[in-house]
Amino acid sequence: MSPAVRALLWKELRQLPRKRGALISATIFPLFFLFLLPLGQGFGMGAVSPSSFAQIEGMPPLPGLAALAADPRLLYREFTLPFFVAIGGLVVPAITATYSLISERERRSLELLMALPVSLSQILWAKLIAVLVLASATTLPFFFLQQGIAVAHDLLTPTRVLVLLVVLLAAQAYSTASALVVSLLARDYRTANNINGALLGPLIVVILALLSLTPPGEARLLLLSLGLGVLAAGCLVLGIRVISLERFLR
């Protein structure tokens, strides 16, 4: 990391925690998606006996779901929990990243930074790293707390926790990088949030389809992580290299 990016990261890490709205969003969403909802689902599923659960009708005969119909714990581990982890990773950084980038443009403070010997890509890198640091600081404690409880109740294995951590980090990377592109293209904060929401919808469908259509196991979660990672890299290249400073200044 160059000294300029380090200096800008220092500035971002001072600023971000002082943005109350962004901080509240960054805390509340992971609390729900990575702790309360999975915890409730975990205890709920753990309380249902497999014999009574097998009698539930209407489970679609899809490869990813058919094998789960007989065991609520399996359904939780292979479907519900990965879904919540992915959503938790997707939602949190996008809000903070969009806020950080758009607010810079809306109040015309970018020139304040560009008056110093730094480049736009250094400014953007510092923002992305800061958002990832903040997102990790808010999501990881909830994630590990919930996963620890699940491991203690034999709902998960440590290996699965690690794989889910990879899913979470990949989702955060994609969320941050896509927010960068959206923030550079959108006129204002509201438009950016609308576009983020519009992008999230199809992605949720894709994640649900992947979890429903592929056989359970670690491989599909790693495949999901890989897909999110590739998307993140694409967004980063687009954001850092293609979109110009003039567009950001507009």
Partner: protein, 307 residues
């Protein structure tokens, strides 16, 4: 270095809406020169500063600092030798004045925050959020950040615009000491400020350079005026001057007469007017102000101005 420190070479900048902001602008500011960038609204002054700062990319031509093009990989190395005061940027409400100066110190890799803040009387305001500072102190903060690293070059984009007269005077006093011994490109609307702080002038109009010369040189090409007043009144004076073939105009109750060489011409003119019975009680020479020169250049659109 021997070449210009600040340079624009045939720079064209067209904005996405089609507006042509710079139309083949060439400027060369040499080491130690303090050049004022003057021009009416929309002339392209801020665009010049932004192009030099690397904020805007020229459509054609090249901008260079210390000989390094703004699109070169090592441009940031050149920028580390430059202090920039941008025009009216937004200010953070989650970052204090001290933190912004500390950011500048970290980015430049040198400088003393407290010592620089003291130069601009910013110490009592260092703990305040930047956005909470008054306009005058915000400008001082920008200047402090620009000067923190002791740069060789300053790019100043209308640093006193929008300030009340007291704050503007204070900022101007800081500018005077900051500009001493440095190479400066100073964009301003304020002609008196330009006259007081700069030694050369660049006049822009509609994205073209109309003039770039030392103020002393350009003054020599614009005629001095004799300012005359007579007891019979300005109309009688102008009638007499006109009859003798002199151009003149009435201004503030006196009569201005352009004279190429007043030291030689004015005594003869005075003797002639007194001989005609005109009671001339005031006569002195006036150098053309920068405002006179600016108005003449912008009006004519030519680099030469009146002979």
């Amino acid at each position: 270095m021997t070449g210009p420190v600040i340079e624009l070479d045939q720079v064209v900048k067209r904005f996405s809406g089609g507006t042509l902001a710079l139309n083949g602008v060439s400027i060369a500011v040499h080491a130690g020169e303090r050049a004022c960038l003057l021009g009416p609204n929309g002339a392209g002054k801020t665009t010049v500063i932004r192009v030099l700062n690397g904020l805007l990319r020229p459509n054609a031509g090249q901008a260079r600092l210390f000989g390094i093009a703004t699109d070169a990989a090592d441009f940031l190395a050149a920028k580390r030798r430059v202090g920039v005061v941008p025009q009216g940027p937004g200010f953070y409400d989650e970052l204090t004045a001290a933190e912004y100066l500390e950011l500048a110190r970290r980015v430049y890799g040198r400088g003393e925050v407290e010592a620089t803040a003291a130069l601009f009387d910013l110490e009592p305001h260092l703990a305040k959020p930047m956005a909470a500072l008054s306009s005058g102190f915000q400008r001082r903060l920008l200047m402090a950040a620009a000067l923190l690293s002791e740069p060789e070059v300053l790019l100043l984009d209308e640093p006193t615009v929008g300030l009340d007269p007291v704050a503007a005077r204070e900022v101007r006093a800081h500018l005077r000491s900051a500009m001493a011994g440095r190479t400066v490109l100073f964009s301003t609307h304020n002609l008196a400020e330009a006259e007081a702080l700069c030694d050369s002038v660049i006049v822009l109009r509609e994205g073209r350079v109309l003039l770039h010369e030392p103020i002393a040189t350009v003054r020599q090409r614009f005629p001095q005026h004799a300012l005359l007043a007579a007891r019979q009144g300005p109309e009688a004076l102008t009638r007499a001057l006109s009859a003798d073939g002199f151009e003149s105009r009435i201004a503030n109750g006196a009569v201005e007469v352009p004279l190429a060489n007043p030291q030689d011409a004015l005594p003869d003119l005075l003797r002639h007017l007194l001989a005609q019975g005109l009671d001339v009680y005031e006569a002195h020479t006036v150098e053309p102000s920068l405002e006179d020169i600016f108005v003449a250049v912008v009006k004519d659109g030519a680099t030469g101005g009146p002979a």
